[in-house]
């Protein structure tokens, strides 16, 4: 019997190609295609009063200039609202090209097509757009004030207001009658996914075939296909969307269709030439998507033991200028805020607000980091108030393993009940306590203090809904060469699906991982899929691959049984080492590739091998459809809940207020692990983004709505010099919701990082940290403010 491949830390099949420079990303395709560039709004809020292209017309190489007026039919209508919700009462989505008004810096106004990108930019530079400024709404305070409006017909700048309660009593009453009460005001600033590869689209129109082929650097090729077909009014089967290698997504590329995903294909159809657009870095900053920015007001009532009796949270969420992706982010914050805890009566209300800034859509973590920040800051505040150990407060509130499945009484982002399927949170907390050295920390602190150093420790936990529906599918085929080809509709952006999905298929079919080729994100190969986001790919697609492969294995057994004859029944057979063999007598066997030949009964022979499948040759199974292949789908009934706990030790410089991470530890439970090497990499990458979000990364708008740090020089993504060594430990509580017992892992690392770093800084400094990210100068200001308060008291 093969050793099971699922669970092994195999090296990735895709790496050699990528390491040789042979990866093919969007911009590596379509040499010779016409290039598109965009004139984008330089102002945050304005009416467009004129567009003058005269000076641009004599640039050599110019092919076309398009404004909103030029767009026909549905292309001239606003982009779709992807996720409608009853509480989203004032949804507004952008146009492909601004229709008389711009609502953020970077909004596309004019599209230019030229023979190369340099020339297209030259043309764009000569186009004069005149604007009549409108007052911009920047930041949550201004949006809440509602004196200026982003959209005249969205009063108070409110896109949505939503309330959820957990059915465990009235939260305000529970808080009022609790022995102790606290209130906290919290702020999280804007950040962004910022993949190294920006977006990009390449389109080819085949006029003979009347078929459109679109390459897009997206997290969902199947959905882009449906969106493009709808906008261009083409039958979906005339549109193919292919996702080449993708240089990272982290959420921003799940949004679709981007204006460029509609305009570039339309231009290719209109011009009859291939057209390509590749986003440059500045465009990515000012015209893709951001996330995170929220204000929160927390009120909590608790008892002597630190147990939460009532929790009320109000959230103001900055959704930017439009809401094409609906209100998923604040829904996730509101629901995942609860983490591994029981909270008594819970009420959460969020207001999603328009501002004249780039749209806000899920970025890895997708609202969870903000929720965990609220919950974990609350835990620390309770501990401080009661003079209790911070870990003990958390322990007092944990959901116990025997309470699983645990219904939190809320509706999650998939529209299904928020029911934790499995998890062992007490063990998780014990593990992080040991890993980070919680118990020995006071000695460590004292030793550091003796050297004049200031250190602090922080801890936090989260629960993450993963693997949501509606479904994912796969097609598995055994070729007559013995190669197994797995096609799935979802895309891949570096998560190693070419390897992890191969491991799953190989186990079921009894072949090596090297025999399996995985194809992703190509609608020519698989048309039905949802996409790669929300830590769902391995759960949904992984199970779909297993289901499809199992069908293939059954079929292989039936065909092999017929071929082996001699009373062999399919149930007697097993698939091992590339052969279908008799369990009782492994010498009675037939190669899987031969079964693939036999699966396709032939009239004609082409070589020695195919002879076996012709009419006068040996018996083939009757009643089978040709081909050793099958399609399978996995449709989860609801999300499965992964969990984790992080611990961190920081040092803060008493003089400079520099903040340094000395130790970062992660305990992570994502159910059954398909490939530990890949999962560990996902966790590391998430933590690095979390550290960025805690200490360095923030998108800064000035009062005029100008994004003032739109470059890698000014938006500080951590380099190798900023990310510490990350210690990880794993635990496995399998999910009972899917056949493989999997839970998602893609977002895990980023979720509690801001919360635990804040906790550790608070511990080192003895002052409250209520706002993230935090820079040395902000820490310095906090110290100064405390000093001023002290002096006031003593004066």
């Amino acid at each position: 019997m093969n050793d099971k491949l699922v669970g092994q830390p195999l090296v990735r099949k895709e790496d050699p190609r990528l390491l040789r420079g042979d990866g093919r990303y969007l911009d590596d395709l379509g040499r010779g295609a016409l290039a598109a560039a965009f004139v984008r709004s330089p102002v945050a809020h304005a009416r467009i009063t004129g567009i003058d292209v005269d000076e641009a017309l004599d640039v050599e190489g110019l092919v076309a200039i398009y404004t909103h007026e030029d767009l026909p039919g549905r292309i001239a209508e606003p982009l779709p609202l992807l996720i409608p919700h009853p509480d989203l009462t004032h949804p507004r989505t952008p146009y492909c090209l601004a229709n008389g008004e711009v609502n953020h810096v970077g909004e596309a106004v004019v599209m230019v097509v030229a023979t190369d990108r340099y020339l297209a930019e030259d043309v764009a530079e000569r186009i004069r757009v005149t604007y009549e400024d409108l007052p911009p709404v920047v930041g949550i305070d201004q949006a809440r004030a509602g004196e200026r409006l982003v959209h005249e017909d969205a009063p108070g700048n409110v896109a949505a207001r939503s309330v959820q309660t957990n059915g465990k009593g009235e939260a305000h009453e529970a808080i009022a009658s609790a022995p102790h009460r606290l209130a906290l005001d919290l702020h999280i600033e804007r950040s962004a996914s910022m993949p190294m590869e920006g977006k990009g689209v390449l389109a080819h129109w085949d006029a003979d075939d009347r078929t459109l082929r679109v390459h897009s650097s997206t997290q969902t090729s199947t959905s882009v296909r449906l969106a493009v077909a709808a906008k261009l009014e083409l039958p979906p089967d005339r549109v193919e969307v292919i996702t080449p290698d993708v240089g990272g997504g982290f959420g921003v590329k799940i949004v679709h269709p981007w204006p460029e995903e509609i305009l570039v294909p339309w231009a290719a159809m209109t011009l009859g030439r291939d057209v390509k657009w590749v986003e440059d870095r500045r465009e990515h900053f000012t015209s893709s998507a951001h996330e995170r920015a929220q204000q929160q007001h927390v009120e909590v009532g608790f008892d002597e033991a630190g147990r939460l009796l009532g929790l009320s949270v109000e959230i103001w969420h900055d959704n930017g200028a439009y809401v094409p992706y609906g209100i998923i982010v604040p829904i996730v914050t509101s629901t995942q805020l609860l983490g591994p805890y029981k909270v008594g009566a819970y009420r959460v209300e969020f207001t999603s607000l328009y501002t004249n800034t780039v749209i806000v859509t899920p970025y890895r973590g997708a609202g969870r980091p903000q929720g965990v920040f609220a919950m974990e800051r609350t835990m620390d505040a309770i501990a401080e108030y009661l003079g209790m150990d911070r870990l003990a407060v958390r322990e007092a509130n944990l959901i116990q393993p025997e309470e699983m499945p645990y219904d939190q009484g809320l509706v999650f982002q998939d529209g299904r009940p928020l029911i934790y399927d499995s998890g062992d949170y007490p063990t998780m907390l014990r593990m992080i306590r040991d890993l980070v050295g919680w118990d020995g920390f006071e000695a460590e602190r004292a030793a550091a203090a003796a050297e004049g150093r200031r250190i602090g420790i922080g801890i936090g936990a989260y629960v993450e809904g993963t693997g949501m529906g509606p479904y994912e599918g796969a097609h598995v085929k055994v070729e007559t060469t013995g190669e197994v080809v797995v096609s799935t509709g979802l895309t891949t952006q570096g998560q190693g699906h070419y390897t992890s999905l191969a491991q799953i298929a190989a186990d079921v079919l009894g072949v090596g991982v090297g025999d399996v080729t995985v194809i992703t994100g190509d609608t020519r190969r698989f048309k039905y899929a949802v996409g790669t986001f929300a830590s769902r790919a391995i759960v949904t697609s992984g199970n779909a691959v297993a289901i499809a492969a199992a069908k293939v294995a059954e079929k292989a057994k039936r065909i092999a049984a017929a071929a082996l004859g001699d009373g062999v029944a399919p149930e007697d057979l097993e698939l091992v080492d590339g052969r279908v063999r008799r369990r009782a007598d492994p010498a009675t066997a037939i190669d899987l590739r031969t079964v693939a030949v036999l699966s396709n009964p032939l009239r004609y022979a082409f070589d020695e091998e195919t002879k076996a499948a012709t009419q006068f040759a040996a018996a083939t199974a009757t009643g089978e459809e040709p081909g050793l292949e099958a399609t399978g789908y996995y449709m989860p009934e609801r999300s499965t809940y992964a969990a984790g706990a992080h611990g961190v030790v920081v040092e803060t410089d008493p003089e400079t207020a520099d903040i340094r991470i000395l130790r970062y530890c992660v305990v992570h439970d994502c159910g059954v692990v398909v490939n530990p090497r890949i999962v560990e990499g996902q966790v590391h990458g998430g933590v690095a983004q979390g550290i960025g979000g805690a200490l360095y990364e923030r998108i800064v708008y000035d009062d005029a709505g100008q994004l003032v740090n739109a470059s890698y020089m000014d938006f500080l993504i951590p380099f190798a010099t900023e990310v510490p060594h990350i210690q990880t430990a794993h635990m496995v509580t399998a999910s009972g919701l899917n056949p493989l017992g999997l839970k998602g892992a893609g977002e895990a690392g980023v979720i509690p990082t801001s919360a635990v770093v804040a906790s550790a800084i608070e511990d080192a400094e003895g002052l409250a940290v209520r706002r993230m990210p935090i820079s040395p100068s902000e820490l310095y200001e906090l110290r100064k403010a405390r000093q001023a308060r002290k002096e006031q008291v003593s004066a």
């Binding site: 050699p16 390491l19 420079g21 990303y25 190294m196 990272g248 590391h684 890698y712 380099f719 190798a720």
Partner: protein, 157 residues
């Protein structure tokens, strides 16, 4: 203008090059070597790093004309035929690649570090790679890979 240079040991020629064109553009669009990546085009991320006469440079900041008669080596030229360079092999083994977009530049940078400093300390590795952004890996496994590649090249592994 015409630019003639050597890339990965072979002579290359590009015609009608505009003075403002970058080496990165020439490599990617004119000589068919798209391995080097463009992630910022302003010298801030290292994804476009190539050797220019044995010194790593951000090719997005090098004007095409500057490479006239000089030697360029890109990610495509690191392996010796089918044999991957130890740095590449160690990236696989360590699991140092996720999306792969930063990888070409990081490989050249790491390759250079090991050439110059056969036994780099951890801070030296971090410092050497501190011009290369990676948004996926958190660098942990990249550091593992570089440590091991250095050990292999120094003959101690």
């Amino acid at each position: 203008m015409r630019v003639t240079f050597t890339v990965n040991g072979r002579s290359a020629e590009a015609d009608d090059v505009w003075e403002g064109e970058s080496l990165l553009y020439v490599l990617r669009e004119r000589v068919g070597l798209p391995g080097s990546k463009n992630a910022c085009e302003q010298g801030e991320c290292g994804s476009c790093t190539v050797y220019l006469d044995d010194v790593p440079v951000c090719s997005c900041l090098v004007a095409a004309g500057q490479v006239q008669d000089r030697q360029v080596r890109t990610v495509e030229g690191l392996a010796d035929g089918d044999r991957l360079d130890p740095v590449q092999a160690c990236f696989i083994k360590a699991g140092a690649v996720q999306c792969g977009f930063c990888t070409p530049g990081l490989l050249v940078q790491a390759h250079d570090l090991i050439e110059r400093n056969p036994e780099p300390s951890d801070p030296e590795i971090r410092e050497a790679l501190a011009g290369n952004l990676c948004r996926c890996t958190g660098y942990e496994k990249i550091l593992d890979a570089v440590r091991e590649a250095a050990a292999i090249k120094a003959g101690i592994a």
